[in-house]
Each structure stands twice: as structure tokens, then as C-alpha cells.
Amino acid sequence: MFITTLKTLAARKLRLFTTSFAVLLGVAFMAGTLVLTDTIGQTFDKLFSNVNKGTDAYVRGEVAFDSEWFGDQRPRLDSTLVDAIDNVDGVAVAEGHIEAYAQLVDKAGKPIGNPNMGAPVLGASWLSNDDLNPFDLTSGRAPVADDEVVIDKGSANAGDFRVGDSTSVLTQSGAQQVHIVGIAKFGDADSPAGASYTMFTPTAAQEFLAHPGKVDAIKVVADAGVSETQLVANISKVVPAGTEVLTGTEITKQDQAAIKDDLSFFNVFLMVFAMIALFVGSFIIYNSFSILVAQRTKEMALMRAIGASRKQVTRSVLLEAGVVGLIASALGLVAGVGVAAGLKMLLSGIGIDIPAGGIVLTSKTVIISVIAGLGVSLASAVFPARRAAKVPPIAAMREVAVDQSSRSRKRAIYGSVITGLGAFAMGAGLFGGAGIAPVGLGAVLVFVGVAVLGPILARPISRVIGAPLPRLKGMSGTLARQNAMRNPKRTSATAAALMIGVALVGFITILASSTKASVAKNVEKTFNGDLVVSSNVGGVGGLSPKLADQLAALPELDAVTGFRIAPAQIDGSSNNLVAADPAAMQQISDLGIKTGSLDNLHGNEIAVFDDIAKDKGWALGQSIPIRFAETGVKNFTLAATYTEDATVGDYFVSIDAYDANVADRFDQQVLMTIADGVDADSARAAVTSVADAYPQGEVLDRAEYSEAQTKNMDMLLNLIYALLALAVFIALLGIANTLALSIFERTRELGLLRAVGMTRRQLRATVRYESVIIALLGTTLGLAIGTAFGWSIVKALGDQGLDTFNFPVSQLAVVTVIAALAGVAAAALPARRAARLDILGAITSD
């Protein structure tokens, strides 16, 4: 008995470690996410209070509407308002401020920074007032001439620029040749949160970055003794309608709140993965405690026999779970700080640079982490604890009962009902428009439901998966297969943890490959262009319209058009409006004109995707109100409807209409066809020689264009894989844990096998292949669920361009092989332990 107790303790070390570790990783990830977002949040808080440090009042246009893609849309202000405000009582200084896309080009001709994934690249007006200007010159002077700029020290370092250097800056008005006359720091930092700034004179800023006679905002310093509120009240009297006047304190708060809002998406994104990790961890806690309770049946029965109440037995199990949870939370919190640093590296590895100063560990992070770790551990142990309490005292006299395999009808019913409810919730979310919350809840229910069904599925599936093993691996294979099948509950609960990770990997893989297939098909079907110049900036900035003009002049090309997207409020709801040259667009893209014609699309006419027109009940000639940030509501006339929305989306207008109503003029892309009789190579060479002056643009042929559409998706995909790897890793710990517990339980049997002639190598193989079967069981269930999820979402998003379901066989085969290898890895430690087993001790110990 003494030896057994010692053995139990020895086994318990590893068990405590692996069990705690499963939760620890989830908690660490959660804590890491919170630490990272808090740290970034604090960095931005500081940033904005520095930006607005000397600003007492801030004047800007009121929000015209909020665009889902582009954020708040506000009109610019007339620059004459600057002088008007300067004359207001209590105003010491008022300066117009402009901030828009501008990207420096380094000495090798490459644009500096990657605004698509990282910090923005901006141009601004150099503020002459020290209180208003957050930058401080470290060398050189302020810009005086219109071709002079001051750049931030970060960009100077990145481009190896010194005062006196000349370079070009990519702006809305094309590539501008500039002289660097000054280099400035942002407080102590080289640049504000990694953003690049090129600062012009106010005139040049209006001219190159925005619109002559317009400013984005007006920053004001009060006279000594004038309060912010008094100043705002005074200014408010002179500004025209549609103008917003804020105190310095208010604008700081609003900026800080806005960035927190942006970050909250990021926070939620990472938190989802932390919760997945904890969810997977909960399976491992549940399984570990289930096995322990089964193994300790005799001990529990003895406790009951000598007078322990059911409650006391339950409590003893929960207490152990509590200890596991507390250890996991405490260590997880510490590890979380490391995770925060790791996440930052991971994100910067795929091109998302995050500014973050010191580590911020708030009490909120501590509380959430402890609650999560402790909560998951206790909740997962509740069922095993209740089972422990049900052990009758008489069991003390019986042989130790191994946990009975449950194939009851009740289990089949419960499992099916839970899975069905999950599928229903997902369906309601995906097809019924109930939103994302029921989809997530449904997914969790499906996982739980399949896990409940697991013990019924485990035996037949393991039998099939393990079928080749007896032939390939002899007795080791036979035993591995039998061992995987002997405790279906244990096997399935272990596999279920891996199932979750694999299901999500499978789902994402299928979604990505279906998206790619859909995009490729759409390009194939509707895109007739031969060449594209595509800007690498998404959202803010792009290519100067001058590029399209220059390309249009090339004899090698036939149809050429810039392609733009503008936010607008169409018929009352925020939408994206695509603009291009209608005649060229018809040559480049097969729009499937249904009614009307695009041939003479005037400045006040619009073409609409047929489905939308039908939904809205619009016919040709219908007047459609469109609100622009800059020009207010304009009525457009429906001139055409089309059936192919892959290129131009739901709403399409001419470049003229765009220019008349939108302030920022950037082409996202320039699309073109090659003139008859010109070979592709010389056309491409001609385009490249023009596009060289616009290094933010990339020249692509049709195939490259098709691929480039999903290039950003690949990066996101890799990020998601990296984050899901954690869930898979935790599941592997679970496999190792189960194997270790099983081996401990099978000591006598293993001793017998060794005695009658099983070599250590054979025993290791037996453990290894049992692990592989469990891993493949999890993978099979996971891929089945992942495929179902993938298929559902493709069906649900069919009308949004995702119309091709693609099952990426080779990629999923790779997933399966990796899972099998992971099973081998998970078995390494338990197999070694099993092989080291003392034969005599195993067969003689009682």
C-alpha cells in the first residue's frame, strides 16, 4: 500500500502539471491579450494627450454619416474659417490642420511603411505654433517653400534621410519632389505610434494632400485666462452650421475613445482564441478528473464506508480542481506577460506593427484571469465530482471498476439534441440573419453535442482508424487499437479536445480555399482586363488619378480606367460607391447589363446591381438620394442595372460623379486592356515604365490580379493558424495526460506483457499508436465538423460572392498527417514511462 501511495504521488506530479498546464495556457493567452490591449491602449492614450496637449479648442465638420468601412465621414472646412476664428475674442492662435495620405519614397524607390497592415503613412500641415504642434524639430527648420518638408525621425531612420536630402512623396496629386529641411521628434518618441509623417507648408498641404481652400480641422490656443469652455462658446458663435467645436479635453477623450473602439475589435479577436483555448482546456480537466475518480473508486468508497458524506467526497474532488485552477491562474497570469510580448512579435511577424510601451497589468486583468482559470477548472470537475459522490461504500469491497463505457440510449438522445440545437442556432445566425452571436453559441453546442456522442462514436471509428495497425505493426498494433477502444469515454473525451482545434483549422482552411476559388471564378468569369496597377494601400490613400491619365495616353493600351471606392449614404444607409470610367469599365468587366445602358452614364446617374434594385423596387428613371460627406444629399437617377457584382459591387457611378462629390481622389486600382496587336510583354513594359513613378502601385496581369485579391487573406489565415495552434497544443497535452493516467492504471497488464516477452520498443510503439488513433479520431470528428461549418458558411454567403465550395483535399491531408505526427509527439513521454516500468514491481505489487 505504501508503495502504491508513493507511486500515486509520483504520478500525481506529472498529472498536476499537465492538468494545470492545459488551463494555464488558456489563462496565459487571455491575460496576454488583456495585457497587450491595455498596453496599446495606454500608448494611444498618451499619444493623443500629447497630440492635443496645447490645443484649447478643436473645430471640425460634423459627422455626415458613419461608414462601416471608412469610419466617420465629415466634410472639410473652408480655410477662410481659420482667419474668422483667429479674430474671435479669447483666441490667441488658430491654425488650419490637414492630415491625409502621403507616403515617403526611400532612396531605392520603395515606399516607406505598410499602411495596409501597420501604422498609417500621413502627410500633414506643419503647425507653426509650438503649443499646437506636437512635434519638436531635432535638426533643420520648419518648411517655408512649398517643396520643403519636415519628416518624423522614425521615417528619417527608416529611409536613412538627413536634412538636405531630396526625395519624393506619394500623394493624391501624384509623386511630389520635396527637400527635407527638418527632422522632428514626437515628444520622446521618434514618431507617433510608428506612424510616418511628412509635414508641408499649409499651402502645399492643401494643394497636394487635400483640396485648395480646405482644411480638415482648426486647432486653437486660448488667450491667457480664457477657459476652454469660454473659448468654445466664443468660437461657436462664428462657425457655420454643420461645424463642431470641441474643447481640447473633449477632442482628446474622443480620439482616445475612438482608438479604443478600433482596438476592441482586436481585443475581441484575440479573446476568441483565448476562450477557445480555455474551452479545450476544460475538456482536459473534465477528462483528467473523470479518470481520477474512476481510478480512486476504491479510495472514495472507503471514505464513504468509514463515514464520509457524499458532500465531503464531492468537495474533496472540487478542492483538488480548485487547487489546479488556482495554480493555473497564478502561473498563467505571469506567463501572460510573456504571451503579450509573444503576440506582439507574432503580429509584427505578419506585418502588423503595434506600438506598445511598458507592460500594463491592471487589476481587471488579474481578476478576469483568476476567475477564468478557477471557473473553468471547477466547472469542468463538477460532473466527475458528482460521479465520485455516487460511489457506494460497498465498492470498497469490490475489484476496482474501470470507468464503464457508456453507450446508453440517453447519451445518444442528449448528444443528438445538443448537436441539433447547435446546428439550429448556427443556421438561425447564418441563414436567418440572427447575427454572429447564435453562430458562436451554436458552434459551442455542436462541439459539446458531438463530445457527448463521442463515447458512442469512439469505438467504431477507432476500430476503422486502427484497422491497418495489426497487419502493419503486429501485436503492438493490435494492442494499441484495443487500448484505444477499451475506454470509449476516455478516448472520446481526449479526442474531443483535439477535435475542436482541428474543426476550426478545417473550417478556416475550407473557407479560405472556397473564397479563393470563388474569387478566381469571378475574375475568370467577369474580368476581361489584361493588366492592373493595384495600390498596396487599403482604405486610406491609393494611387493619384494622374496615373490613370498617363496610362490612358499609352498607345499599347485600349481601355483604361481608374477604379475608386467612396463611402456614401445611399437611400438612407451607408454603403460603398464604386466609380470608374463607364465605357472602359464595360470593356474591362462583364457587368451583365440587364436594363438601361452604361454608355452615357452622366454625373448624376447611377447603375445598381439588379438584386438590390429588385429588393428596393427601383426601375429605370428612379431618383435615388445619395449623401456625400463633402457635398450633402444629391439625387441620382437610375440609368442601368447589372447582374455581375463581382467587380463593381452594388452601386456604380462615373468618375465625374465621384469628382464632383468626394474630396479625396485616389484610385484603388487602374484597370486596363491591351490594344489589339500589342503583345502582352511590351504592353506590360510600357505600363511598368509609367507606374514606376508610383511605387505604391504594383503592376499585375490577370492571374496575378486574381491571386492578389486574396493575398491579405493569406496573412490573416496564417495568423489564425498560429493562434489555433495553441488550442491544438493544449489538446495534445490532454492526450499525453490521458495516456499517462491509462498507463498508470494498466501497470499490472503492462508488467505482464513485459514478462511474457514484449520488448520496450514494442511497448513504446503500443502507446504511440494508441495516441495516434486518439489523435486521428479527434481529427476525423474535427474535419467532419469543420467541413459542415465550412459548407454552411459558403451556402450562407453565396449571395455575397462566396459561391464556390472548395474542399482542399491536399491541405486537409496535411492537417491529418500533422495530427498523426502530433499524436506520436504526445505519446513520447508516456511511452518512455511505460517502457521504463519495473516489471517485477508491476506484477507483484498489490
Partner: protein, 257 residues
């Protein structure tokens, strides 16, 4: 206890059989310094081929230790043990394991069978581990002898204790080992079932030409053997041929259990 230990108390059979296994000055000590316990003290003994030998002795006498050492389940502190001509002390774990698999059969008191395998799979386990096909004719004979022909597809949990031990006997015989070791093979059985198993073991020696060494503390069980070796305090203290339960019991009393 001070009697001359090397002299047999009974007359050996006329022709001395070959040794299937041998221990020479086999010594096993546990612990070190003052805490040293000598479990087996320089025991030298031959286990003859085609003979059923029983090892008896009070608990702590070293009878199990002797069997474990000769069977290659435990390692010696000093001395040598041989299976046939092979000196076990020179073998690493892999060779020792292969030797147990190919040359030695085991019948334990309990936990004899792998619960996930059928009776037949358990019987041919050593051959399967070696990756060999069992000798069909011999296997049929063994299975027939122990009367398991109708139970081969059953798993251990579907067999009675006696049936389980018969499977164990069949397994020990199936690979036609040089020697079979039994560790209280009937200890967990009622006397009638136990007698049945012991009869099988005896007929395995007499009719199938096998060699069996069995550790037991039951005089009735020992009486099935042709030779009984008595151990006390780690040394062989007596030997008896053609035992009967009464004679064995008598000797046991004599050694003061």
C-alpha cells in the same frame, strides 16, 4: 535448520535429467549498509528438464525471489543463473525480454491475461510478439488438453477464474518454452478448480514433455510436482521427491512455519 543442506533428503531418480535452468550461488540483497536484507543467499540449484518442480517455503523465505531471478524478471546481486546454456547475468533488457518470450512460459497467480485480447490471442501472445505464426498442430493439442476449444473467442472478462488460469497454462505451453514458471498459479482458485489446473500442468510435463517450476505455499499443490525444494531464510533447506500432501505438510511443520 542446521542440518546439512547439500545432501538430498531423498534418493534422486536413477538417471539424472538435464538441467533446463540453473542457479549457481545466486544471491539477492536489498538495501545497503545496516539495512541490507539478504533475500537469497548463494543458492545453487538445478531445475531438471521434463520435470515438475515445486518451490516451497514460508513467506519471506526467498522462494519467489529465486523464481524471479531464474525467470529473468529480476537481477542478481551476485552469482549466476542459466536458462539452458545462456547466462542471464550477461543479458541486456532487450535480450532478456526476447529470452523470456522465446524460452520461458509464465503462469501468475492473477492478472495473467491481457483484458483486451481474446483467449486465443492471449494464448499466442508470445508468438505474436515475436511476429511468428504459432505451430498450429501443437496449439490445437494444447488447447484441447486444457479444454478451451469452445472458449477461444471469449475475452478474459467472459471467462471464469479457472478458465482464465487454463488460458494462462495454454499460453505458457503454446510457445513450447524450455521452462515454465508458475507463481502460485492456483492461489486464487477454489480447491477443485485448482486441482484441475495442477493436473493440466502435470500432464503437460508427463505427456507433452514440458518443464515446470512452480512456487507455492500449498502442500496439496506441491504434491502434484515430482520434486519439491524447500527454502527458508534465503537458503535451500530440504528437497523431496515424489511428494504427497501429508509428507510435504509434515516437512513444512518440521521447518517451523
Amino acid at each position: 535448520m542446521t542440518a546439512t543442506l547439500t545432501t538430498p533428503f531423498d534418493t534422486p531418480p536413477a538417471q539424472a535429467p538435464l538441467a533446463a535452468a540453473r542457479a549457481v550461488a545466486a544471491t539477492k540483497r536489498y538495501g545497503s549498509g545496516d539495512a541490507t536484507v539478504t533475500a537469497l543467499d548463494a543458492v545453487t540449484v538445478d531445475f531438471h528438464a521434463n520435470q515438475f518442480t515445486a518451490i516451497m517455503g514460508p513467506s519471506g523465505s526467498g522462494k519467489s525471489t529465486l523464481m524471479h531471478l531464474v525467470a529473468g524478471l529480476d537481477t542478481l546481486t551476485s552469482g549466476n543463473v542459466y536458462i539452458g546454456d545462456t547466462d542471464l547475468s550477461g543479458l541486456d533488457d532487450r535480450r532478456l525480454t526476447t529470452l523470456r518470450r522465446d524460452k520461458i512460459g509464465f503462469i501468475f497467480q492473477a492478472y495473467n491475461l491481457v483484458p483486451t485480447l481474446t483467449a486465443l490471442e492471449n494464448i499466442v501472445l508470445p508468438a505474436s510478439l515475436a511476429g511468428r505464426k504459432p505451430d498450429k498442430e501443437w496449439l490445437d493439442q494444447v488447447v484441447h488438453t486444457v479444454g478451451l476449444t469452445n472458449r477461444l473467442k471469449h475475452r478474459p472478462s467472459e471467462l471464469s477464474g479457472g478458465q482464465q488460469q487454463r488460458v494462462a497454462v495454454a499460453r505458457a505451453l503454446a510457445s513450447r518454452p524450455s521452462i515454465i514458471f508458475g507463481d502460485e498459479p492456483t492461489g486464487n482458485l477454489d480447491s477443485r478448480t485448482g486441482a484441475e489446473i495442477l493436473s493440466f500442468m502435470r500432464s503437460a510435463v508427463r505427456e507433452l514433455g514440458q518443464t515446470i517450476v512452480m512456487v507455492t505455499h500449498d502442500p496439496a499443490a506441491a504434491s502434484y510436482a515430482e520434486r519439491v525444494i524447500f527454502l527458508a531464510d534465503g537458503s535451500i533447506v530440504d528437497e523431496m521427491f515424489a511428494p504427497t500432501p501429508d509428507r510435504v505438510l509434515d516437512r513444512m511443520k518440521h521447518f517451523g512455519e
